[in-house]
Symmetry: C2
Subunit: 199 residues, 2 copies
DNA sequence: CGCGAATTAGAGCATGTGCTCCACAACGGG
DNA sequence: CCCGTTGTGGAGCACATGCTCTAATTCGCG
């Protein structure tokens, strides 16, 4: 019925990922992307409409991968008993993602929220972004219930510190550098435990 | 001997600071800066040579302010006895800077290292940047000696986690939002204690 | 009252960016 | 074998940015 694709959308996302991991958001330009993927400007716009949407798609692909990993870890530990252990596992999951797919982890650590949630993201992708945000919020509420017995603002906030902010501080720099040291993971576990115990 | 300045360099730095705090590094453009300071393009370049150098100068001004605060806190706690308490105080000092000068703290949290250490920084300022880096490294070694009895790579690394990475994770988002909650400072203290105790 | 020096003003240049647009190529169905 | 559909290539546009350059301005000094 039509001409077959020469460049799959995933290949474009791969190229975008490599550029962003290498030089951050500023490294992702239409020309650099087209050159890296061996495609033309026209193909990029035909596939994704605009750059913001392409970037959001690249991020979304990896964020889904990460959330699946996170969910599995949380579910397993939750079934095995400890809410505390579940929070620990959740906090450690960026390190596990880095072990099994360093590129994915590096992309997620290379972008800030504002860089992804730019105004111009086209609608189907923007909706997926919001849905994924809600999914993560759900996991955080589950963990809050498991550790505090409630999921109010304060409890969720403590869990967010443990699962989002602390890993970002300790793990992300090492993920960007390409290697997460075991000592750092122990530091993280200790910090998470201490925050959970803070009255 | 000459025409007096209409816009002091400090006024330009103030304008740059406001722009960066408001919209990050991308918000700082020559035109936006000139408009905000009521100056002209020419004055900006006459005073600072180029934008990178101006940005580095703005950052340096606040970084010095911060380092002075940090040193005072560390020296006081060190004299009072505890190396442990000194690390706690050092970790908490971004919060104290935010209390006494929110704008300064917000500027320091609004920029990444790569944004400041761009290639183009002119030489006198670049040298100051390096000097300040060495000063901070010296403080970290002092703290390492006070807590571990030695200042090797491993000890300094633990202290760096406590004094740089943990505060960045817990305090910076709240500084950007404009308010640091007491609970967050307690979380930080707890996390620092836990990391110091990790074998 | 000139004169040199420091500062200002702002037009203008080169470059890099996202994006548009349209001619063209490759496929399957009639 | 043409034709509609889908994808490709790439020239080119509009715009924003950092920066340069020159003429004008305003001071102190002799």
């Amino acid at each position: 019925m039509a001409r077959p694709r020469l460049h799959s959308p995933d290949a474009l996302l791969d190229a975008a990922e490599a550029l962003v991991v290498g030089s951050g958001r500023p490294g992702l330009t239409v020309r650099a992307l087209a050159a890296r993927a061996g495609a033309s400007n026209g193909s990029v716009y035909h596939a994704f409409g605009d750059l913001e949407t392409l970037l959001a798609s690249a991020w979304l692909r990896r964020a889904r991968q990460f959330l699946a990993l996170l969910r599995d870890a949380v579910d397993a530990e939750l079934a095995a008993g400890g809410g505390r252990r579940a929070v620990q596992a959740a906090a450690d999951s960026p390190a596990r993602l880095a072990e099994q797919d360093l590129g994915a982890a590096q992309l997620l650590t290379a972008l800030t929220r504002e860089e992804i949630l730019a105004e111009g993201v086209a609608e189907p992708v923007a909706a997926d972004l919001r849905a994924l945000d809600r999914e993560l919020a759900g996991v955080l509420r589950t963990l809050a219930r498991a550790t505090h017995g409630r999921a109010d603002r304060a409890a969720v906030d403590v869990v967010t510190t443990c699962v989002v902010r602390l890993p970002a501080a300790l793990l992300f720099p090492e993920i960007r550098a390409g290697r997460v040291r075991p000592l750092t993971r122990r530091h993280l576990a200790a910090a998470v435990g201490a925050v959970l115990d803070t009255p």
